[in-house]
Amino acid sequence: MSNNRQILSDYVLHLADNALILGQRNSEWCGHGPVLEQDIAITNISLDLIGQARSLYQYAAQLIGNGATEDRLAYLRDAREFRNCLLVELPRGDWAVTTLRQFFFSAYQMLLFQQMLHSSDTTLAAIAEKSLKEVTYHVRWSSEWVIRLGDGTEESHNRMENALADLWAFTGELFVPSDYEKSVADNGIGVDVSSLKDNWLQKVQDVFNEATLTIPTTTWFQSGGKEGIHTEHLGYLLADLQFLQRAYPGMEW
């Protein structure tokens, strides 16, 4: 594989892993949501994310060749090879953590895909276009929940603040480009994520104003996921996700 191709496939895997891992996390809610309508909504978002992951893995598999498939990429890589941001692998927590994380991530994804529409890579541009419709809904749904819970009862407000304390340190990583992100951004294929941060902060500020929440002043952010240095949570998530393919290798399902 040429160097450029390698970098592109790393990038596509990073995008795919983000979508898969968050889709997997959200799917844990299925059957356990706070009310039936929201059980359906979070499952829907999970489905959208897994759909995005599939398109991206299929593309990555094509770039990698050598018998790679979407399932091999999702099921047979170990934690160190996953390139998702730490934010998406954190446990689902309560409804405050789930909706706030979704809001942070979807707001980022929306800005990302809006830029990716102009990618010189037509496959990525097409995936961005398709995903944008879904992500626009995810942003609306999650920001409504952040507002509702932030400006709801005392308990819901406290829970939102706790969620914010848990999650904030993991948002910085979204906007610090890894080497492969820098390379594809320079080539006009990928998006320079550092350029998204101001707009993202503005969006968060707007929603937080309504939600009566305050953006933390902490400036230290966790990172490492993009290079495969993860939290301890990812291993367990993958143990679940990959169980059948690991226990019964090489079979058709």
């Binding site: 898969l20 997997q24 799917s27 844990e28 299925c30 059957g31 356990h32 949501g33 706070p34 009310v35 039936l36 309508e37 929201q38 059980d39 359906i40 499952t43 829907n44 999970s46 489905l47 897994i50 759909g51 992951a53 599939r54 893995y57 979407e70 399932d71 999702a74 099921y75 309560d94 409804w95 507002i147 509702r148 819970l149 400006d151 709801g152 009862t153 308990e155 819901s156 829970r159 679940d240 996700l241 169980f243 059948l244 393919q245 019964y248 079979m251 058709e252 399902w253």
Partner: protein, 315 residues
Amino acid sequence: MSIKDLEKIFLDKIEKEIKIEPKDWMPEQYRKTLIRQISQHAHSEVVGMLPEGNWITRAPTLKRKAILLAKVQDEAGHGLYLYSATETLGVSREQTINDLHSGKAKYSSIFNYPTLTWADIGAIGWLVDGAAILNQVMLCRTSYGPYARAMVRICKEESFHQRQGFEILLTLSRGTDVQKAMCQDAVNRWWWPSLMMFGPHDSESTHSEQSTQWKIKRMSNDELRQKFVDMIAEQAKILNVTLPDPELKWNPERNHYDFGEINWEEFWNVVKGNGPCNKQRLDARRKAWQEGEWVRQAAAVHAEKRKARETQQVA
């Protein structure tokens, strides 16, 4: 109008296959029977999400994961239609759900069995949804309008569910020896509980006679069960699995399959709460509801705040 006249109008409608609608007069017992049956059906959809949900995070491929998620999500949707149908009879969703959580209302016993392997997801689709469809197809013609209409929508989705279950098993049955064994094992465990889904024998069924007269129910438990056995026995050949009943045999005189007797002791035991997962299922539903309490409350309080602000702005 006297009760007698009202009753006559009601029975005439039933006779002429005119649907009974929420605002029509209906005998109190008809209403009660429907509330019991539809809410039980709604609970079955919602509790039924749990055994299958058990394999969502472990589905073996991304495609299977997506299909399973969509399927379980459909079931939540069915629960919603059915809770709405119950509401047309004058019981709130909250009340109906409380009855489930208190143990007063029942749900289909089949969901009190555990899903131990991936093949169980196939077996549930093939056998459990297959049994449910027979019942639901019949209910598309039930006499209460909102219930019948909910069933029409549900049936469309259920047939997709059964196909995907069959397809999971078909893939396993064409796979390795380990997969074939996994498939057979799941069929062994789900076969009898699926037959139990049709309920007691007609002679033992307490609600059946009146329900048939009111055309809530249009086929008997035993008729539906026979139909199911005839259908599944044929499909089992394609899957190359054996159904765990030595007495299962085609009877050319009856033009039906003969089959063995259900273990009714097990049946009543599970109904009474002693199935392998009765407690876990109900606990899981209660837990989700209790943990969601603060969320529902916050949503209600926020909606009120918003409304108050809007009124203020208008003023």
